[in-house]
Symmetry: C3
Subunit: 342 residues, 3 copies
């Protein structure tokens, strides 16, 4: 039960290098992605229409793929163009082709009605490929449903508790309520902290005084996209009003793509606009982010085990849940609408 009429991140551009056949299950469907000889991504259902063998165990033949169970050959539009030993290809012999667009190092795929796939509606994550920013491509596989991770991203109150030595820092952070704006397709969260302890990961990669003005401004929108402007600036210089001189600024692009009802693909990159010619800084930031995401995974995994023991447990809504509650409502309503529409 997933939203289908959405652009999902299916992978990183580099995952299609070297003629690779990328097999990935997306919103419950097996998908094969590869780059055509002209360089465009192609996405086909990864299930031969004959007897269900994965085309990803097959072989590329130009822009076609031959299933290596019984030899059926499919073109880049998913049409079967050859059946060994059978001169006529029946009209039902095809696999589904998905609209797919490569943009700023991400491969976006549309899992729903192809006629509604509008590349102009792909969200802006240009920082991933902007020479003014640096970041490394990240990926994690989570054995939990995507909404449990969405909860985590909607509520930064967890930062000082889950990530005390990486992203978090002082628990003062959790005392201040962010501004939560309800969007039609998600939430926008703005948090400004004045004169707060410099976050640990910032101290590790850039010279910064022990206290800063700090901000996290992000949107989290359907079907699971997180885009954040964050940073730390010298106290009192007016970062909030726009003066980012001497600040360490970040852009974070993160995408949750459900794999199955109980597992999720997590694509992410934390981009920075300083030390552009110091790859060791880029690597250090990426490494800290990976460490922090493992901290999340440990907590969310523990939460899943606890919830599994008693499906009747009801969560207790608190003030800090404003963003996640709204996102869950938007998700549920969108899903109901999509299913009602057939």
């Amino acid at each position: 039960m997933f939203l289908k009429n959405q652009w999902y991140v299916a992978g990183w551009s580099h995952e299609l290098d070297d003629q690779r056949m990328l097999a990935r299950t997306l919103v419950g469907e097996p998908v094969l992605i590869f780059r055509s000889e002209a360089g465009s991504p192609v996405a086909l259902q990864d299930r031969c229409c004959h007897r269900g063998a994965p085309l990803s165990l097959g072989r590329r033949e130009g822009d076609c793929v031959r299933c290596l169970y019984h030899g059926l050959r499919f073109d880049a539009q998913g049409r079967c163009v050859e059946i060994p030993g059978q001169p006529v290809v029946p009209p039902k012999a095809f696999v589904r082709a998905f609209p797919v667009v490569e943009r700023a190092r991400w491969i976006w795929i549309w899992m729903g009605d192809a006629a509604r796939a509008d590349p102009d509606s792909i969200p802006d994550t240009h920082w991933l490929d902007d020479p003014a920013w640096r970041g490394l491509p990240g990926y994690m596989h989570y054995d939990v449903d995507h909404l449990s991770i969405a909860d985590n991203l909607c509520d930064f109150n967890h930062l000082p508790y889950v990530h005390p030595t990486t992203l978090g820092g002082s628990e003062q952070y959790a005392q201040e309520r962010p501004l939560v704006e309800r969007l039609a397709d998600g939430v926008r969260v703005t948090r400004w902290l004045s004169d707060i302890e410099t976050p640990p990961f910032v101290r590790k990669v850039v010279s910064m005084p022990p206290r800063v003005d700090r901000w996290n401004i992000y949107s989290f929108t359907l079907p699971g996209l997180f885009v954040m402007d964050s940073g730390s600036a010298p106290v009192g210089q007016g970062a909030r009003a726009g003066n980012r001189a001497g600040a360490a600024c970040f852009r974070s692009c993160q995408a949750l793509t459900p794999e199955t009802a109980t597992s999720t693909h997590y694509f992410f990159s934390q981009l920075h606009d300083f030390a552009l010619d110091q790859p060791e800084v880029t690597r250090a930031i990426h490494s800290i982010i990976e460490q922090a995401f493992k901290e999340d995974e440990r907590m969310i995994g523990g939460q899943q085990r606890t919830l599994a023991l008693d499906p009747s447990f009801e969560m207790l809504p608190l003030a800090m849940d404003a963003a996640l509650s709204h996102y869950r409502r938007v998700y549920a309503e969108s899903l109901a609408a999509e299913q009602a529409a057939g």
Copy 2:
């Protein structure tokens, strides 16, 4: 579907040493146990009332525990005493606290209605902590339901077959019917064997003639407690009438605490009243018991695999099943009564 209004063994005293936060699932519920600064055990539901994260991934703050997902703090009675960024704590913000008592190296917990928890009803297992006896703390985790292990403990006919080189010995043992007394809350089994081969494990740890008078006298009572007086004495001196001169005597304390419907915690100690100043004897006895319990586990595990293949299989009641049949009946009736009472 477990009995709740019962004292269960939750752990060994030493498992709470060094400020440890012991996380253990008991009768299907996640429980966190720790020792207060004053030294008393505290048992809380190991599931934050907010969004279900395990408190055992949190941190001790004096006698309080802070959930390290979003920072809620709970006192030793389970009341939430702080919510970051929210001045008022709602009345529903609490986790359940369980009555818990430490006695003779075991931590006992009451999983039902706290008003009915009477520490005076905790069974006597004082030998675990009696200077006249020696034994080591044992624990096994079983991937079977508790009643399959209860069956095993109710019927010592299996001793010479499952444990020929450890606890068992001559198959003459299985030819003699024990006295089985039906109790309101379980069974009491008395078995005296005159002039029988000395059990292998006794021969290994104490000097004893090749044949002895041997006894096993135990109760097995709700919710899964086994307490046994056993031993071997020189033949014909009247051990049965009370003369235990030159005998090797044992007390065995064993407790089955269900973890889930298909797994069980098993706490045990085999205490001896001889060689009190020879720790190598204590270790040797413990080691043989562990070996024997692995013998049981292999057989019970095989039984489970066989039963899983055909849930319609009906067991064949035999004379030797008197004790286990009664215990299963008592358990089922007690469970039905408890559930009927709400």
Copy 3:
């Protein structure tokens, strides 16, 4: 849901050597097989009638087996002949004995109504034990249902695609339609290829020109038996008309025995009639066959994962599916008939 009134292959003769107690689950039932002191195979239900312990964890006592949970002893007909401590054995105390026949190195077992077990109906696989042929005993355990493997064996179109460097060779193979004869209990498939590339595995073990006349003639019959005459002969000498001079001839005996609904035992041997005194050739052929079967397993496993994602997927029947479609129909009708008959 398996056919029961059938002879199934339960194992290889050598698996009963050295007084071994072979425990194997066959069509969902636990079975214990051993060789009597007189040398005949005995097959008993591997589940004590008392409390379900596996007899295979017990011990042989002559032609009897003693359960080593509580000591019940069963004779080779499955009758309980002793219950420790209980003088009278109740009439319900028995385990089922299955008709079992050893023939040409295979142990055949009848899992249904014993009165209908006719050893004369055991299929002919004498090549397994014929001095004019050589082969090694093969076994694989498959984590898929037996019909998915049956599909594979019914349709050799997959040879050049799944096995290009082992059994397959030129894709010309898949262009030619075989003759498919529908049998009451399965299919007979005949494929002759004239002047085709010599199959890779033949080239590896025997001196043969680069092109040959090649044949695969096999039956696949209930409940899952594959017997094949195959070979390669010099082009144009009339192999099809019977002249096999200079040919490399093979007999393949393969049996699928369901273990559970989702797993299958696979017994096989590829026998050759040349190089009879060269065990290295026999080993090489066996090794290539094992490699090829792993190629099948990889594809069938991939197919299973894909199908599991969407149980509503409908396969697309093609001309090449004639044999497998007929076999599946025969299987389904036989199963329905057997179940209707009780």
